[in-house]
Subunit: 362 residues, 2 copies
Amino acid sequence: MTQELVKAFLKPLQKEEALNLTGGKRGRITIHEVASAAGVSISTASKALNDTGRMGAETRERVKRIAGEIGYRPNALARGLLSKRSFTIGLLTTDTYGRFTLPVMAGISDALVDHGVSVFLCAIEDDPALAQTHVDAMLDKQVDGIIATGKRLDRRLPVDLSNLHVPVVYAFTEGTQNSVTFRSDDEQGARLAVEWLAKIGRRRIAHITGPEEFFSVRERAGAYHEVAGHREPVLYGVWSESWGHDAVEQLWKRPGEKPDALFCGNDQIARGAVDALRERGIKVPQDVSVIGFDNWEIVAAQTRPPLTTVDMELKELGRQAGLTVLALAEGRPVEPGVRKLPCRLVVRQSCGGKPPGNETKE
Amino acid sequence: MTQELVKAFLKPLQKEEALNLTGGKRGRITIHEVASAAGVSISTASKALNDTGRMGAETRERVKRIAGEIGYRPNALARGLLSKRSFTIGLLTTDTYGRFTLPVMAGISDALVDHGVSVFLCAIEDDPALAQTHVDAMLDKQVDGIIATGKRLDRRLPVDLSNLHVPVVYAFTEGTQNSVTFRSDDEQGARLAVEWLAKIGRRRIAHITGPEEFFSVRERAGAYHEVAGHREPVLYGVWSESWGHDAVEQLWKRPGEKPDALFCGNDQIARGAVDALRERGIKVPQDVSVIGFDNWEIVAAQTRPPLTTVDMELKELGRQAGLTVLALAEGRPVEPGVRKLPCRLVVRQSCGGKPPGNETKE
DNA sequence: ATTGAATGAGAAAACCTTTTCTCACTTGAC
DNA sequence: GTCAAGTGAGAAAAGGTTTTCTCATTCAAT
């Protein structure tokens, strides 16, 4: 037993010296260093660190301890070369502004960081050539998968991802046949908003929204009609504050009874509407309730009064997209199709009805 | 000559068959496939594709052509393993909101995409553990460098990057000793704003800004005093619309002559100020000029009237940070120190003076 | 004809890690 | 005292690419 011990202590020293003389490399610490410091072979070191193979418990512990002490971290490139997994995914987005991409990104990162996966972010405007460049770069780097995201549910990315040999998941953008797509349930979100207005006693609910060619606009308008009926008009326009402002002008110029609630297609429109109402001396929420869509903090929370609005839970959407692409990368089966994630109502002060306080934060 | 040709055509075919039989691999196309398809060795294929080594022009062309035809793309992992360059950098940010990070990111990506470099985006709130996790993951993946960015010039990231063996560049956040840091020249930006107001004839310029503990607030206030003197007060507050609103109330409640211009610390404050002025029946820009800071499109362009504001050129800042980290990664020398990048005045309608039209877009 | 250089192309090592296979040694049973 | 089984650990291959070294051939010059 003593002999073995002596051997065990002599051997590493010899190797160490030899190695230090030859390879005074400035580079990172490799498993080579660990092995020689621990007086074992590379294979044993590897097996010790990965809890695989057969070896004495003492050896395993010693290798692990020494690896920790000298700060060994395995080279992901070398590991990936063999395992065919780079622990890297690509996020492709057309939303340069970041309004939708950032929460999605946060969710993805959040879901994947525990799995050691990093995310390449590539903002491709609507430039097919740029998109292709980025996709190529990602594939060269052996990404385990790609998540495509955009700023519109009904738009495709300017690059075809359908025949890649890595899994692709679509989030908040239109996917291809037989792909997995995550999107918000705008219908349910709109219903949530209108039902809330109804619940707090509003009866004349108008809907001011974006361009009718947006799929989500039509979906939201559909749900609005289902719940609110057809008593008040739907005003289609653009996604801007000034349109919200103008729409209120239009509504209040019409003869007859005025709406007692406005369901707006996004927070910017809602904000424009609130401003217009205030200018007309109409009190929000006492006289008219206003509800937005998106829960874009910077707009919704800074409006006076702060906007009650519908949150599309984009972070959760990103989280699920991340987990899904990971599952696909690991070969686990995933049912293709479109998954609609429910929206959530964020109650602030622009509707009245219920006191603030249950407002959930981002 | 004919014999050689025949040989050249026979050889690849034989090899091809052999390879197809043995290795019906589902994986990507490797240089192996290129070599056998072209009837040359791997080494020759590599040299042909990289324009290195000695070989006949015809061989080189043939290899290149065939590589193109069968869609060969080199495996960046394998390449990186040898070359010690992963053509990957990490972007670390504490700005989860993306207000500052996104333009910076766009600039970095823009500058580096041509060099084949991809960017890992890691949003670390203020969580040191999360930050360390991300940094470790990046280092494991052998990033060629790291860019650290934040939402405040005078704050450090919650993780120490000073002794990494990869280059680190700081952008819009405080760097460490002997590092390269890029930041906006807030002093010059503020001067730009105040001088513009003076130029269009304003004499009583007040300054409504953020918390005094922000370095950039003090810098901007300093420049403001230099140009405008001390006739009007500086109102320190928070970075919100409501503070802009309140500050105007304060200013107009005071006895005596009122300001004819407001230089605001950011666009949100400016917007709140504009709203407050309108509520008081004061016309912008006829009675009072208002100027913001940040050129945050979503706020600046949607304000009525649209805000004249100072753009910090964050995209350019990102571009330079990207090129710098690349230079460092390639071993080119870079002078350490803080580089201040000039701001740019974006003229919209909230100041009057000059008709709109020279507004530059993002 | 023989040498020398120049040319074209391949063999092999290297990068770092994981995994499979093999080998030597110990232990318990006969 | 021999055998079988079990145990601990190392050798070697693999992954895809680049690079250096070596070899064989050609051609010009002696």
